[in-house]
């Protein structure tokens, strides 16, 4: 195990931000910490990185690892160019080869704006520069704190492809937090956190299987007859439509075949990460 968190706890005064979280991270794995705002994701991440000390519990690395961190906000200097920013950070590490910045800029596609000032870059360009900065010391583990928040769909895709490629090709261990749930599909290990506690973990498919109900919506000319025919409780009934939350696809097939004469149309949608997430964390905003 590359990294293990045992009973990690952090309190701020009365408030318990992280409550006895256990984590095991294997080398080369891709872990996503998922949770609503204020769930304790970033606090957990900061303790794993070593930027804040846990109130109780501990973080154990199996050797002294090199860490790379992409922070939620920008931590590079707006007034400096991309090249200056990266060269200066590289200079603050002990064993960074002289051509590291050039290599990374080619690898991450930064060559076109290396001499542009950081504050003139687009959000997606900035994110790539941030990732390049995190990779300067050739880290064993890459932490990313909500790396795709506020980016358009194309850029998000590009960033995911990049991170996955790095994980595959360089056997990089990736740990990230996010709240765009559909993106969790890329992770080997999804950990859902809320109120500082781990609510569930597994692959995205496992979580969807376990926690996300499939949704069947049927359009029918005779709503009352159909409701009488089916002994399940519908989640929604309108003048022409009935909707059900179903545990499996088979249940949907059973309903559809048994009532095919009453059905003018239907829509079946398998459970998404969003459904699993809402099932786990509730619908309340905070």
């Amino acid at each position: 195990m590359l990294l293990e968190a045992k009973h990690l706890t952090k309190t701020f005064g009365e408030k318990v931000a992280v409550n006895a979280v256990d984590l095991q991270i294997e080398k080369g794995s891709f872990t996503a910490l998922l949770g609503p705002n204020g769930a304790g994701k970033s606090t957990t991440l900061n303790m794993l990185i070593g930027l804040s000390q846990p109130t109780a519990g501990q973080v154990v690395y199996d050797q002294q690892p090199k860490l790379g961190v992409v922070f939620q906000g920008s931590v590079l200097d707006n007034m400096l160019t991309v090249r200056e920013n990266l060269q200066i950070r590289a200079g603050q590490y002990r064993h960074v080869p002289a051509d590291r910045v050039t290599v990374l800029s080619q690898q991450l596609g930064l060559t076109n704006f290396m001499s542009q000032r950081y504050d003139t870059l687009s959000g997606g360009q900035r994110r790539r520069v941030d990732i390049a900065r995190a990779l300067l010391n050739n880290p064993d583990i890459l932490f990313l704190d909500e790396p795709t928040t506020g980016l358009d769909i194309q850029t998000r895709r590009a960033i995911w492809t990049l991170v996955q490629k790095l994980q595959r090709e360089q056997n990089l261990t990736v740990i990230l937090t996010m709240h765009y749930l559909d993106e969790a599909d890329a992770a080997d290990n999804v950990i859902v956190i809320d109120h500082g506690k781990v609510l569930a973990h597994g692959t995205a498919a496992e979580l969807k299987d376990r926690y996300a109900a499939d949704l069947l919506t049927i359009t029918t000319p005779d709503v009352s007859q159909l409701v009488a025919n089916i002994d399940r409780k519908p989640t929604r009934v309108t003048a022409t439509q009935i909707a059900f939350n179903l545990p499996t696809m088979q249940d949907a097939l059973d309903i559809l075949t048994a009532n095919r004469t009453l059905i003018s149309n239907f829509e079946f949608r398998p459970g998404t990460m969003d459904d699993a997430f809402l099932a786990l964390t509730g619908k309340e905003m905070r």
Binding site: L51, I88, N137
Partner: protein
């Protein structure tokens, strides 16, 4: 550490308006003097020979001391903004280590303090050369340059003590305003020390910048005063005391004594600035080891 110093210098000098206002802060006393005070002070000095040039050099001395204090402070502001923008967290991840990071903020501030004093010196001397034909000897210039180095080091560590307690950009601005306003009085640039009430005179002696200002005046005015006062030591002593050219402890301080006092202040301030940082790091290490 060199990378970090380079970064801090780049950030300071790339922000042109920042550099300009930083200089303007120091230029204010210079301009105020020209507009409001010069005629007034000259008329009360009519029996002093070469009064014009003496006043000019007196002002240069005080203004350089102020410049050292305000420009190093505005450069150290980077430490606060880095913390506020979470850049400090990113810097802590590098191999540089907190003590070296702290030292590089201080080093770059000292470099900036020196360069800005140099710029101010050139501007003021140039101005007075044109208007009053002010000339300075090579010795005076060399001594002044050496003092600039010491002055910026001293101002940097003293400011570093204050800035350690500042955590928001807002309170930083307020601190800068307070220091910028107070300095002119505290180092006796706006009003000669001898004209202050005795409490204020004693207060001035607790301010490191006063000793810097006094030494600047002594270096810049010394030769001219020798000529002006000749053998009249009593008049010379009372003039030195009045204008803050030499500060008065039990007797008027000599150059060497002033340098010694400034050296002790520098060491004391360095202990106060680095001490808490060092303790914080040690405490954190101990916490980590216990786990």
């Amino acid at each position: 550490m060199t990378a970090m110093i380079k970064r801090n210098l780049l950030l300071y000098f790339r922000d042109w308006s920042g550099v300009f206002f930083s200089l303007l802060g120091a230029l204010i006393s210079f301009i105020l003097y020209l507009v409001f005070l010069k005629q007034n002070m000259l008329s009360s000095w009519h029996q002093v020979p070469d009064a014009k040039v003496l006043l000019d050099t007196w002002l240069i001395g005080g203004t350089l001391a102020i410049t050292g204090i305000t420009t190093t402070l505005s450069s150290l502001a980077l430490m606060v903004t880095d913390k506020a923008d979470h850049i400090a967290e990113d810097l802590e991840l590098t191999d540089a280590g907190p003590l070296r990071l702290f030292a590089s903020y201080l080093s770059s501030a000292a470099v900036i303090g020196f360069l800005m004093q140099l710029a101010m010196f050139v501007i003021m001397w140039g101005g007075f050369y044109v208007t009053d034909g002010l000339t300075l000897s090579v010795t005076a210039v060399l001594n002044t340059l050496g003092l600039m180095v010491f002055s910026s080091l001293l101002a940097t560590v003293v400011n570093a003590i204050f800035i350690r307690g500042i955590h928001s950009v807002d309170s930083l601005g307020k601190l800068a305003t307070i220091i910028g306003t107070a300095t002119g009085f505290l180092v006796g640039t706006y009003i000669p020390i001898g004209l202050l009430p005795s409490f204020a005179q004693n207060l001035v002696k607790f301010i490191p910048g006063s000793y810097v200002a006094a030494l600047y005046r002594e270096f810049l005015m010394g030769a001219k005063l020798d000529v002006a006062f000749g053998e009249n030591t009593a008049a010379r002593t009372s003039f030195d005391k009045l204008m803050g050219i030499r500060l008065n402890w039990s007797t008027l301080l000599t150059q060497q004594e002033t340098y010694h006092i400034m050296g002790l202040m520098l060491i004391g301030a360095a202990v106060l600035a680095f001490g808490p940082e060092w303790l914080r790091i040690r405490r954190r290490r101990r916490v980590v080891r216990e786990r």
